[in-house]
Amino acid sequence: MAEQPTGAPLGTGPRTGPVDAISVRDITRVYGRPRTSLRRPGPPVHALRGVGFDIPQGQRFGIVGESGCGKSTLLRILAGLDRPTSGSVAIDGREITGLRERQLTFVRERLQLVFQDPMSSLDPRMRVGDIVAEPLVAQGHGNRRERVAELLEAVGLRADAADRYPHQFSGGQRQRISIARALAPRPKIIVADEPVSALDVSVRAQVLNLIADLVDELSLTLVFVSHDLSVVRHVCDRVAVMHAGRIVETGPTGQVYEDPRHSYTRRLIAAVPTLGRALSGVSAADLNRE
């Protein structure tokens, strides 16, 4: 951590557009804990400690880090679903911190989420059509049935899937539904929290292809969170490595991967087993060796 100053935006590359899709300035998020001692208040959890970055329009931005490092917290703040303890977030140049729920409509229209668990991210009691249409209903758009059919087609499902319930679909199909829902209000930014971690490899490839296609076609800005470096490497242009609530390293994916500068990044990359390295004789002990 000593290698990177915290708080300052780490994005250093040339800006591609006049306004960044997402601009994060020095956010912290502290969760209170119930007290365990009579004398002292409960120890606070610093889920984010001075995180900052900018994501230009159209970029595919990856965030990697291990469990509990604050990735989901960060995403919730980006989406205006949680408030930072300090710091600020701007979406398309508009400040969202401190806004009330009602004033966040532009975020809801511009930014949508895709989640990890294909099981719990779809309401089991709603028809797929209603699920996909939910953002449309909430934002008061009309012409829903057609749009739903269009969206389902776009993610490779048949239009009559709208009348079924989520449990009637496989994990990969569910993740497609999730993506269709995210695309419904024609957002410019998609934020995906571990969208393929729960999927089998074969399905993972299908979903990753789909995401890549859609991002290209619709020229979306993508924020992609994963604990799996190789997935991020495949999907993203830039990556930020998070550790214990901080961003310890950021840069173009290839560069971070090939030439990690922070010791944590190095350790992370070393620990990832890959087929190629394994076949060339890298053992479990080697993975563990820092």
Binding site: R76, A79, L81, E101, L104, T105, R108, E109, L111, Q112, L113, F115, Q116, D117, M119, S120, S121, L122, D123, P124, R125, M126, I131, E134, P135, A138, Q139, L157, R158, D160, A161, R164, H167, Q168, F169, S170, G171, Q173, S178, R181, A184, P185
Partner: protein
């Protein structure tokens, strides 16, 4: 009618044991049957009873069961079978009032406590737990003292006493629902808290509500019997199984049937609601239950 790849991933595409609908169990069948029978009796009592169940006829008092009087008559010469039929109304009414009060207050309370900020939710639940300090019968007796003995009063009291059970259970379920990603997705889609409560939370805790309701029904029927026994329940001459049982006592050794019919009716109805509750519990996700 649909794409083969969708067809292929049928009902059990979900990982085993997660949200698999279980088959209809024996309890569900038997419970459902008994409860339908009680409802059937109620409906029947509106169109037909063999005799007027409140008609006192001293000339036919304490008749043994016969073709005319299927279950015999009581000491007032009233037809026992007709009273049992009419009494089912009280039973159902009792359940509806008690469960209705408990659910109408307890369910929104539980959902609100789950969706409110943590401290408020805790406060609501603490207040709710305080209600536990006033057991059903205690409330019923106190209510009867204030508003006079009566089925409605007693059952409102039972209902109020059942609120904490509903609220606790529903809050537990709602908390789990609130933690799911589809709720976060709904928020991100721009849904307000009210819409989320109505469209996501309520449907997903409805299983719990139904289970608790059927158990609440059973409890209410038993409570009505106990209150009638103490003289705080349904006032005469409205037939009620609980009061029939109480009235039968003095004739227990010469006309035990007067106790047997309402006693069995109560037990069977309670059994039915309990079984239904058990069966439904098996069908709905049992893991949603809050473990304090």
């Amino acid at each position: 009618m649909s794409a083969p790849d969708i067809e292929a991933t049928g009902a059990s595409a979900a990982p085993a044991g997660r949200r698999r609908r279980r088959p209809v169990t024996g309890s569900l069948l038997v419970g459902g049957f008994i409860v339908s029978a009680v409802i059937g009796m109620v409906l029947l009592s509106f169109v037909w009873t063999p005799h007027d169940p409140t008609l006192v006829d001293p000339s036919v008092r304490l008749q043994e069961p016969s073709a005319e009087y299927w279950f015999g008559t009581d000491k007032f010469g009233r037809d026992v079978f007709s009273q049992i039929l009419m009494g089912s109304r009280t039973t159902l009414f009792v359940g509806f009032v008690a469960v209705g009060v408990a659910a109408l207050i307890g369910v929104p309370l539980g959902i609100a406590a789950a969706m409110a900020p943590r401290w408020l939710g805790e406060l609501l639940m603490r207040g709710n737990d305080l209600l536990l300090a006033f057991p059903a019968l205690l409330l019923a007796i106190m209510f009867a003292a204030v508003y006079g003995a009566g089925t409605l009063v007693a059952m409102v009291a039972i209902g109020i006493a059942s609120i904490p059970h509903f609220a606790r259970l529903i809050r537990g379920g709602a908390l789990q629902v609130m933690r799911t990603e589809y709720v976060i997705a709904a928020r991100a889609a721009g849904r307000g808290p009210f819409a989320i409560a109505l469209r996501h939370v309520l449907p997903n805790v409805s299983g719990l509500v139904i289970v608790q309701a059927s158990v609440g029904f059973a409890i209410a029927v038993l409570a009505e019997a106990a209150l009638s026994f103490l003289g705080f329940g349904t006032p005469p001459p409205t037939p009620s199984w609980g009061r029939m049982l109480q009235e039968s006592q003095e004739l227990l050794s010469i006309a035990p049937r007067l106790a047997v019919f309402p006693g069995v009716a109560i037990a069977v109805a309670v059994l039915g609601f309990n079984l239904l509750g058990d069966g439904l519990r098996d069908r709905f996700d049992p893991k949603l239950e809050d473990r304090r």
